[in-house]
Symmetry: D2
Subunit: 260 residues, 4 copies
């Protein structure tokens, strides 16, 4: 499907503030950026660089006062995500080198603390895709989706305990549970068509068989029409805006529409 | 200045052909991509990756028959390029690690063969910017710009001998002469506003003082309003289209316009 | 000083187990590896790769049974570490790109939770080196060093609460407190001459002025004669041995001696 | 086989000279460094870094006068190299991204000029291993090995014309011919047991099937017991010593012995 997706962020800064944005989707396998726009008001010098995960990062210092970021992209996406119950677990010794880092615990994904829960959930499923799907399904069934119940410091272990959170928490828990089984898992942030209410979204991918598969514990059915913006170990790596100073997000608007 | 720049390439393939394109300018210091479009007709799966120089590369297999690539971008550029006669030569031991590779000879820049010519040109100029400017000026004055006098295999040593060529040859010669003096130099391809006749363009950068400076031996005056698309050791690294099979470029159109 | 440092690890595996070792110090600024030995018994195929931090990693599958890793190196080290109270805080916008990742929270360093404590500790010290030294000194003074009081899942926030731990916990707390002030900080594991009792050691570095400085909250005085083995965000990245299966470390021996 | 291999280089510098050495073999698939020594006399500060090919580079400024580099390593090597006539050609679209650069022409490997010769040599061999072996065999049979017939500026096209050269020229020609057929090929420098006369050696690898295979046009039979030190596009990337100033190599000694 061809989607037009974007967001508008309006900040207020009491002083010039360093800001790192990650708002430029890249063309990759499964998505092709046909057109994009990215504007800053007022116009501000920006340096764009690629981080160690391959994400495009926009680095700048906001001026004092009002600062508006507007970005929109027309992207060709896949209508469905791949579902391959037979995709097998990959023994650690056979993983590509750059996938190994996604086995490690990270700020919000304390894989080292969730092994017991993971075992209970997974039971005797076949190693690989079916384990990850069991994890995804368990989260979807057992964790309540509710805004305002978690914050920027909430981690997977806390979500496992409280069983409540938002998409970011669902993803962190999925990632942590996968890693506790030595299945590489990474965080994705991006857009999802017909997400309700519309917002930026987060989900996770697990490395099974010979590649990354998409999983989204917030959804009942496997759904395509996703636009990935950034990949990382967890939310610390893929924050759409990381600020270093007194910057307040005043308004945020997100849209994902079908493009004729 | 805000420029709208782009190109349209139309290919004809007698069989499906692997093709690597490098046609997506990145926002960097000195340029900011406000909007871009990139379309392929017919629609074709593409994987985009970053090469070892940080360029965005689009990898695909063209279908048989007609294949059209259309890309255009609205870019905020600098009206001028920096001219700093006092910028000093950087001793090799003080160069950043990732700059060192631009000291080495490469396919089209046989720095190892041009030391004598470089010495003659540079004379007793102060080491650094003034040497590079002397090189640039010498090429501009002594090499005739003429289409059809060189081809895809012409190297700097040949251009030094024949004293004729196009922008690519001018850049190769500048790069080779700089490197023969242990000044790091790299190739840039991109757009130049008011280039006449309009075409994709090539120039070079030299690392002096603490950063890269722009030099263009095809021009009389230092001119800004450039949009860099790709950087590399020489033309092999920055080919806008590298094909691996029977693909014929039928037509090519390039534009750079002021955007109100 | 010229040091001979190494370690011997003896494992017992009930089944072949994937293992990633990080036990090969690299020559860098401040240390030069004159000689090293690295043996595995029984001999086992190994692939060595460089991770995203530049550490050399040795990847293998241990055979079932007894497995011995022996590594020793003769290294020229600096007798002292640099102490520069005047080194200033670097505003985020001026940090090198590859340093930015060390501002983010990580598994064991919840910088996002320790801002208040950091403010109390630092008071009105001049931004930069003096802040980090205040943090280091506060940890040294207020946290009790005691084996067996923490484990592989203990994080900086927990150490801040319990005020007890080992070198790894001291380092994590120092890192988290620095990052809460937007000072990049990273974990180092390696050897320290005359550490008592002798063991592998962990400390941290903070990026101030224009480079990384060494800090060690376990020590009273600034001490040199360190051999760095690996760098990372925190202990997850620099584990000397990461295993993926039923491997038991039976004995471990570490030595650091002066080499005539 | 377990080999002890190393070299001693003695330089004389009329002034302090920046020097980049590439003399530290890494453990990789097929070789494991059990022990190594690396000494500089007089002792000189060195920074070691990894270049874009993964080679360890030692960067320093030699003092004025006498400068001695001594390096030796005990390495477990494979006794044989893999010979797989059935390994197929990999279509460009299926090559790993980091292999693509080895399709491009480079300073000493003008693949763009040698397509005709390659076609003649290869005839109707099956695409892949057999083509590369035909190239290797043709070079071995048709190019005369003779010291002093080529120099640091000799390229593959020249070697194809003169049909004389040393190991480096043989490798360059093999690489250029492979690339003209869109087979990725790279240069390797290192040690070869029982090379006669003993010296540092160069050979090439071609990417076929799903990995790199070793080819050596200087040898009659496929021979193992090689220690790779560095990989690159051609000799510019893998020079064991690259100097930037008045440094003279006075003596050089190389050894490769069986280690009991």
């Amino acid at each position: 499907m061809r989607l037009e997706a974007g967001c508008e962020l309006v900040f207020e800064a009491t002083a010039p503030t360093p800001l790192i944005l990650m708002l430029r989707p890249r063309s990759g396998s499964g998505q092709w950026v046909l057109r994009e726009e990215y504007t800053l008001e007022p116009t501000t010098p920006v340096v764009e660089y690629t981080d160690s995960y391959g994400n495009l990062c926009q680095r700048l210092v906001t001026p004092q006062g009002h600062f508006r970021v507007y970005t929109t992209a027309c992207v060709e996406t896949a209508d469905t995500i791949d579902v391959e119950p037979a995709a097998p677990y990959v023994p650690v010794q056979d993983l590509p080198e750059n996938v190994l880092q996604f086995l490690l615990p990270s700020r919000y994904c304390e894989a080292d603390r969730l092994g017991e829960l993971a075992s209970e959930i997974v039971g005797d499923r076949a190693p690989g895709y079916e384990q990850v799907e069991a994890i995804r399904h368990w989260i979807h069934t057992n964790v309540t989706y509710q805004y305002g119940t978690s914050d920027a410091s909430t981690s997977a272990a806390e979500t496992a305990a409280k069983k409540i959170g938002v998409c970011r928490d669902f993803a962190h828990l999925g990632i942590a549970l996968c890693r506790s089984f030595s299945i590489p898992a990474r965080m994705v942030v991006g857009y999802l068509y017909q997400l309700d209410p519309m917002d930026l979204h987060a989900w996770f991918e697990a490395y099974i068989g010979d590649r990354w598969f998409t999983f989204d514990a917030t959804q009942t059915e496997p759904r395509g029409n996703r636009i990935a913006i950034a990949y990382g170990r967890d939310a610390t790596d893929v924050a759409l805006a990381t600020q270093y100073g007194p910057l307040t997000l005043k308004t945020m608007r997100v849209w994902v529409n079908v493009k004729a």
